[in-house]
Symmetry: D3
Subunit: 238 residues, 6 copies
């Protein structure tokens, strides 16, 4: 049993609250327990320079944490004058994950920017961000279809992400901050609705770990992703 | 009558939702109509370098807008690598406004950092930020009293802020974004519960304007501030 | 009586020395007592990107202090790699103030850059900068008229600025550094030759202050601005 | 058969040339075919601030590419004024990988900095960097033992890294640049001499891929790592 | 004969106006014809970190150009966020030149910062800066002697600087901007009152040049420096 | 006799190893004893903005030191976020030196970028960089001739560089790091194959020095440059 009372293979309480802010073409306040990430999608008519006049679109992502989203306040990156390596790593991951489920040619010469801002952090912010960014992206694409700019959704798969870890030798699904801090291994899985792989990152926290532990985390992740996929569909009214 | 149906001297719907996030010593989601600002207060045991060992505390503020808080997306300041002049101007204003209502000596050698992050913008973000930062600050100070670190609240006044403008020759209270864009003059008033002045900033938007217009805005502001003061007190359970 | 021997409503010795440097289209060394600000106006044929092909011009300003313009040396902003919040606030104020007295359409697709560099500081650098920038701007516009590029001066008003403060309960005009450091309230007024308002900024230095004090400062400012307007006219040979 | 004539499970020609530069406590020019990475280890007596007086050491890494290490010249990061997200991601990975095989307490209050600079790039620079950084680290630690500062090597495992990919449906070991550009999936494996996992990163390049493909890459990597481990030992004279 | 009417070996009109600003420990507005550089010396009680507790002082210099000191406006370095390579090169040269004529041990644990700001530029700003910085430094050191902090001036030599060039095959002393733009070779000489060498920099502008030309410039420089030394002495009342 | 056993007028062992890396149009690992600099030349079809459509080419240079090229590790400039003044000074010198020996009009609208990266430092890195950059430039230009893009090499002279110093009153050629640290004067000479001057920089390290010492260094440099010119020719197969 985990401190939170959850089973080893149990997700935290997950909610995707669409329309949390009104200006963005798609917006979703994503909650994985006490981790709250506001994801918005913005449609822009210009693609980045390297894609001009190639008949293809682009998806990119930015990530940030509010200074007091965390237990102790972290410096504001805008004030420090640069984004940390961690921030850049996460936003690159979000961008790659979403680009893998869209037909960029079908999107046309448009760019969709996904902003994932952590309002409150309690572990797993990057997996919440990817899962919520999918919802925001889907909403924004629906607007393009509704307005007649696209004839159908250019999405090829549905995507969600979840973390797993090994704690005192036991594999656990969807770690919160306390669990994450004591994990011996830590993995992030980005999978499709069909269980295909988009991205896996696994890291030994302290010392190398066994392949059997990796396989156990993989198994947990597949189950968790299936639940997340259903919750996304419900939020999107599918 | 205004487009929103409000009277010239009518505030938007105002709410101060305390405890919106859980880690900060004080937190308040402040809504002035569709302008939503998350204000948090963080207590730190260290004062800035220039105040060390002087037996006095400090209050400072930081301000930011989420990239898609606005009608069209703005660049993320962390990604651009610097805060705009407007951002710095606003956070300096928030800091000055709050320092004016606290006895820094009574606070002791502590710093309180007020983070004001705009989740959704519709005009008047700086006045919402000041008004909400007061609530967050009050909550954080209460914690210091409850934990016995302070014997009483070191606050000397209550403070709130509101904007006014002249639109087609008519003074209006608490402008939304559309009103703000067409105003001939634009003012921000930061006043205490007793109507004393902490800060006034008034600007001609297009051409110089008459002193009588300034006086009319001043009159509206005094009324609006009184309402805001009451709403803050209610949110704080006073 | 003030330490300097001035009356409460008396300006410091003011001079506008035109042509102090030879390359700029307009240049004016502005002295408010021991505060010396070199103001230059540069005419450029290109407007900023957001105004291209709109048939309108632009005025912008930059402000800086030489490192040893002050009592104790301040860091060189170019070496620190960024302009302070105070610097940006002041240069934004100068730009707004001058844009309010010019017909930008009549200026045509040109930009005038006003550089205000403080050679020596003794309080009131921003009001000296605005007052001197007007002179430099006027000189540069005269060149455009003389060379036939404009048929008449596109100026709609004359503008000057002055500070006021409350010291030991007494309103005072045009504070020097020592006075400024001990003021209970501090205001900057940017007014036209007709006494119309372009910008007012008033700040409580330590604790909130009474509206009657604000009104007294306003009264002093109106008188001081009238004198400054005459001195500008004399320097311009009007 | 691959374009280079290699078998699907064949490494490129690998060399670890120790002592390539003379000042560093450990240095190794690492060649994975035409990918050449200079790895140096520097021992410093100070640990980072967050570890002071905790009786533990630290390993950190920095990564860079010479501007013309690549087919077409890339901008110099020092001239651009910041490290790219990719650079930061790689140097964080190298640091984590090496920290996982050392007993930081046994290292004592010392920091070892691993600099990995790519002189020539042809795919797989990060895996060459990790593999070579291990050699440089080992050499530097030997110096600490030889000089009597440590009684024994504080290493707990040996580590090496290799990339794998799926090309036209076939798993391949140790991709060069041309192969990497056309891969459908791309993985980096960081494993110990015993085959334990330190880090795995796998990414779908274009569309999601099957778990069986992941498993095939994992199998190839284990074989490749065993060969790399032997080559490292030979270079170290073990 | 030169366009300005000067002889090939004739300096421009040179003035060293001491006390141009009042706050600095030493200040001197230096004019080499239309090149005007304000040089100030600031005494600080702290030396840079690498010299702490070594019983020795330090001299350093900073250089800047006002944006409209030049024929066409240059960007403000503070706004661009960094100093150009040229600026850094010049300020390093000024610092080295002044450190060569002072006994740093005799100065004691103090730092003197020399700020050289170009108010108007017409060629030779770096040589004017060095020559004027010497005057400002001398004045500041006199204050230390007068106040009893030093028993005597720690200066070992007097220093001045001048430029020379080759124009249409003819060596010329102290080039103005027009001359500098058309020179085939350009040299800066920093010499002492006894004609000893502190720094020489000579550069071919377009194509390599003959040693005889270099020697001719050297000869002119020695004469010019002697005159500058006398003018400095006069300004200092020696 | 020098510590290294060299005569006062003897160069270190010099080698120019062409083709050290494979992607660049020209590459040369240059060794002046233990100083090793990798020089590469990159041909680009675009000239900088200020030269567009003027029918002329451009040569520019960048310089860097690997963090552990030195006795004690130096900070990575890419991580610090800016190039030091020294770095910028050196890369400007390299660029000027190479531009002086090429007919930029004959080069056509192309830019050649010379990257000089110090793999190991032992004094004289800038002179090794200039000497090696010439070789890399020559190789790149040969490729343009071989491919028919140029009909002949647009080079007007051959260039090499060497340092000299005064140590305990004696002039010495080609200082290594230890010698450089104890020199009373330090000079860098950039001369052509015919002994013409491109650039001379001479600096008093501690106190002013005599012109006779300068002349002695000049004499040594001329001899050393002649040897370097022959070694370059041999490396280029001329």
């Amino acid at each position: 049993m985990r401190e939170s009372g959850r089973q080893f293979n149990q997700l935290r309480e997950i909610t995707f609250e669409t329309g949390f802010t009104k200006h963005a073409e798609g917006s979703c306040l994503t909650r994985f327990g006490d981790t709250h990430v506001l994801c918005t999608a913005t449609i822009e008519d210009q693609v980045p320079h390297f894609l001009r006049n190639k008949g293809t679109g682009w998806i990119t992502a930015e990530y940030g944490m509010l200074p007091r989203s965390t237990h102790t306040r972290i410096d504001r990156e805008a004030a420090r004058g640069k984004q940390s390596g961690r921030t850049q790593e996460i936003q690159r991951l979000i961008g790659r994950s979403l680009r893998a489920v869209i037909d960029l040619k079908a999107l046309g010469e448009r760019q969709i920017k996904l902003d994932c801002d952590v309002l409150q952090a309690d572990g797993g912010t990057r997996t919440a961000a990817i899962s919520g960014a999918y919802v925001a992206l889907h909403l924004a694409l629906q607007k393009l279809v509704e307005s007649g700019k696209l004839s159908s959704l250019p999405l090829t798969h549905q995507v969600a992400a979840v973390s797993c870890g090994i704690i005192k030798g036991n594999p656990m699904l969807d770690l919160d901050y306390i669990e994450d801090s004591s994990a011996e291994a830590d993995s992030n899985f980005v999978l499709t609705d069909e269980g295909k792989i988009i991205e896996i990152q696994t890291t030994a926290e302290d010392r190398p770990f066994e392949e059997t532990h990796f396989n156990a985390m993989m198994g947990l992740a597949k189950g968790g992703i299936q639940e997340l996929i259903q919750l996304q569909r419900k939020a999107l009214g599918l």
